[in-house]
């Protein structure tokens, strides 16, 4: 495959970046998108140029490290996959592909396509946990009966890998899908109920503090989420926040 890549290049957080064109040849349809970028970088390094910086880690769709806004969509045109699981067969020979970093005030660019998503960590620190007695008499989680329906929905919410595709896709750079998944995975379980009210208030406060936008229910996040996190979680967070606020 022969392609034209239009990639956002930015030296560091301070300098302004720009889109740079890179023609590339010899791409196999079975390559993953990140492998295609590896090929590009090899060529750049051989020429003595600065390779394109991009985030990646497990390359099997579970770590949430890879990002990229590809041809106008987070993780590219495929559904239910991360960029590392996106294959070049999704594109045609001769295509022009735009590759940009996830854009949000709360995700500042560090270099090229690498963004600082530590705002998610700070939201998580604000309440995305349960307090457990670890003094030696910790109760096994499985001793508490939980109905299957709630356990399943909690698990579904917990499959969020925190990649930030929801923020990148949202026209408002809102982090509600991420935060609501983290709120929901605990709110649905008895262990999480104890701190449920403080959790939702603190996490939403932190989310607002980080400069994410407001949700306007376009539903883009749900469509682009590689893990299929449902908008039901945002509705649940809205309920949780309301009941915590009026208490």
């Amino acid at each position: 495959m022969k392609l034209t890549l239009k990639i956002w290049r930015q030296k560091n957080a301070k300098e302004t970046g720009k889109i740079v064109d890179y023609p590339i040849d010899g791409i196999e349809p079975d390559m993953s998108f990140l492998e295609m970028l590896d090929v590009l970088n090899e060529g750049l390094i051989n020429k003595g140029d600065d390779p394109v910086a991009f985030d990646h880690d497990c390359r099997e769709g579970i770590c949430g490290m890879c990002s990229l806004f590809i041809n106008g969509e987070a993780h590219g045109p495929d559904r239910g996959v991360t960029t590392c699981q996106l294959h070049m067969r999704m594109f045609k020979d001769g295509d022009t592909i735009f590759i940009e970093p996830f854009r949000a005030k709360a995700f500042p660019v560090i270099k090229d396509l690498v963004t600082d998503r530590s705002s998610f960590d700070r939201i998580q620190h604000a309440g995305g946990f349960i307090s457990v007695n670890t003094s030696g008499n910790t109760i096994d989680a499985n001793t508490i009966p939980i109905n299957k329906h709630d356990a399943d929905r909690s698990f579904d919410a917990a499959t969020c890998i925190g990649c930030g595709a929801c923020v990148a896709s949202c026209k408002n750079s809102s982090a509600m899908l991420f935060v609501s998944a983290k709120v929901s995975q605990f709110a649905l379980l008895p262990q999480g109920r104890i701190e449920a009210h403080d959790r939702v208030l603190n996490m939403v406060n932190q989310m607002d503090h980080e400069g994410f936008g407001n949700c306007t229910n376009t539903g883009a996040c749900e469509v682009e989420c590689p893990k299929g996190i449902s908008l039901e979680n945002i509705a649940r967070m809205n309920r949780e926040y309301l009941s915590a606020s009026i208490k």
């Binding site: 239009k6 969509e73 735009f98 005030k105 936008g213 539903g219 509705a235 809205n238 009026i246």
Partner: protein, 278 residues
């Protein structure tokens, strides 16, 4: 200790958008029910009675203040949301395929809402302001055959008639826009109806501007339809009502509401301009 902010937080803004939006949906139904009377032939009196009721009934007055506040709050809150949301992404994408993941209306609520706000202001200047403030607002009259002679009478709220001739000769005086007094302006005799019907028909039948007014009205209703197509269902989501069991019902109702209400509103000026005989 956790803080809550029922006005300032991102979620609270959604609650207020949803609550005011849903209240304005209810207002639309009430307003539409009244307007539809314009489609009934020879119904000027009933329409003017409705207009009188809407401007004087205490319960309706309270509701109307809630409506004004809702419109204001919905607009201001909406504007704040738009500015905050734009600030949340200082550098835009070079290529953004938003159509792949979200409906057009959902991404343009601010623009749609602004057009609707402009429509509301124009609409209030045209109909609401004369009804409330215009000192020269006409009162409803009717022509009756009296012994072979056509005479014009003012209709009064108690179902009576006052000959227009007597008013013209100052035997009866009109004060405070609607009140009929005796010639010495001392005793209030009766009260007339402000003729909103006449103003409405004249507005859409105006030989110069009637057609453009009708077209702009219909376009505004189309924009309202798009605004509602996202807003109605979105309000439920914002208030936390998202359950697969009922989502079909809410979305289905929202879809029909978004089509039917603006459509029925739009039919009225079309009927007045193109079908109704002056």
């Amino acid at each position: 200790m956790a803080k809550s902010a029922l006005l300032k937080s991102s979620l609270a803004k959604k609650y207020w958008m949803a609550l005011t939006g849903l209240f304005l949906c209810l207002f639309l139904i009430g307003h539409l029910a009244g307007n539809l009377q314009l489609l009934v032939p020879d119904n000027a009196l009933n329409f003017n009675k409705y207009a009188l009721f809407m401007t004087t009934n205490p319960a309706v007055k309270i509701l109307s203040y809630v409506t004004y506040i809702s419109i204001l709050f919905h607009s201001i809150d909406g504007a704040v949301l738009v500015f905050q949301n734009q600030a949340a992404r200082p550098i835009k994408y070079a290529r953004n395929n938003a159509a792949a993941n979200s409906p057009w209306a959902s991404r343009n609520m601010g623009i749609l809402g602004t057009v609707i706000l402009i429509f509301i202001v124009t609409h209030m200047v045209t109909f609401w302001a004369p009804m409330h403030f215009d000192k020269k607002m006409p009162l409803q009259t009717t022509t009756i055959d009296v012994q072979g002679q056509k005479q014009e009478f003012y209709l009064t709220t108690d179902g009576g008639y006052i000959p227009k001739a007597q008013v013209d000769q100052n035997a009866i005086i009109i004060k405070d826009r609607t009140d009929f007094y005796d010639g010495n302006a001392k005793v209030k005799i009766k009260e007339g109806y402000k003729d909103l019907y006449k103003i409405t028909i004249a507005f859409f039948k105006d030989p110069k501007y009637g057609l453009i007014a009708t077209i702009l009205y219909v376009i505004s209703m189309a924009i309202l339809a798009f605004h509602l197509s996202h807003g109605f269902g979105s309000a439920f989501q914002s208030l936390g009502a998202n359950n697969p069991k009922y989502n079909g019902l809410i979305r289905g109702f929202g879809k029909w509401f978004a089509i039917l209400v603006p459509l029925l509103f739009a039919i009225i000026p079309l009927y007045i301009h193109f079908i109704l005989k002056a």
